[in-house]
Every structure is written in C-alpha cells, then in structure tokens.
Symmetry: C2
Subunit: 79 residues, 2 copies
C-alpha cells in the first residue's frame, strides 16, 4: 500500500524555514502570512489492509519520521 | 485562503533523503520500498476566490517554491 505522511512543525514552534519562505515570497511581490515548512514522506508498505498499514505507519512516525515534541503528523494510506 | 503545497522530487531524480529514511526504517524492522522525501508548505494568501488563489500559488511554485527541473508540485486551496 502507498503511504503518505505529512510532518509539520507544531503551532508555536519556531520555524525558520517557513519564515524564510514567507519573506522570500514577499520580496517577489506575493503577500503571504503564517508560512510553515514541513516534510512529505511517501513510500510503499506491505500490510493486509488499510487499518493495519495505518497502524504500522503510526509506529514509524513515533519512532523515526516525526519528533512528537515539536512536530505533528498526518497519515494517508491508499491501496 | 489557506494554501498547502506539496513539493516532491520527480520520478527518476536521485533522493538521498528518501534513501536514508527507507534504510533507517529498515533498521527499525519496518520494510518499506520507494521512500521519497519532499516538502509541505502551508500559508495564508489573500485572493478573491479559490481559482485566483490557485493561480497565485502556481506562480509562487514556478518562481520559488519548487525547482521545476527536478521537482513536481501539488496545490490545495481551502477557504
């Protein structure tokens, strides 16, 4: 199954990369607010069904893909 | 309006970060294939409607957020 994980800095956590993107867009004439930059991770994982895949990916997030202190994650699984 | 942009390395483009994630997950006992790592960028943008917002964000992607030679992007706009 195909898994997509979105990992984002939690609200209130300093995000220098997001600030840089916001200010660079401003210099180009695009007015944006609250720019935040995170990661998107895609991969194939073996699982018997979507619930099983989601549970596996959740363990991957807790152990490696996200830092739960400062990042939140969102999991999407498609066949 | 709230914009979310997913920027991913194009197929065939080397992705060392994705390879590192895949191999680190393997060491933890999770078998995954084809791991790829990209960016998710969230921000607020002023626009009169969703189509206008999407057109603006597309220009931001072409000019700054993505490198169209090696990255593809996906735009989502919500009110």
């Amino acid at each position: 199954m195909r898994a997509t994980v979105l990992v984002r800095p939690k609200p209130g956590i300093l995000d220098p990369q997001g600030e840089a993107v916001g200010s660079a867009l401003g210099h180009l004439g695009f007015e944006v607010r609250d720019a935040r930059v995170g990661k998107v991770i895609d991969f194939e994982v073996d699982a018997t069904n979507a619930a099983d895949a989601k549970a596996k990916v959740e363990r991957m997030c807790e152990q490696l893909l996200a830092n739960p202190l400062i990042e939140s994650y969102e999991i999407e699984v498609t066949a």
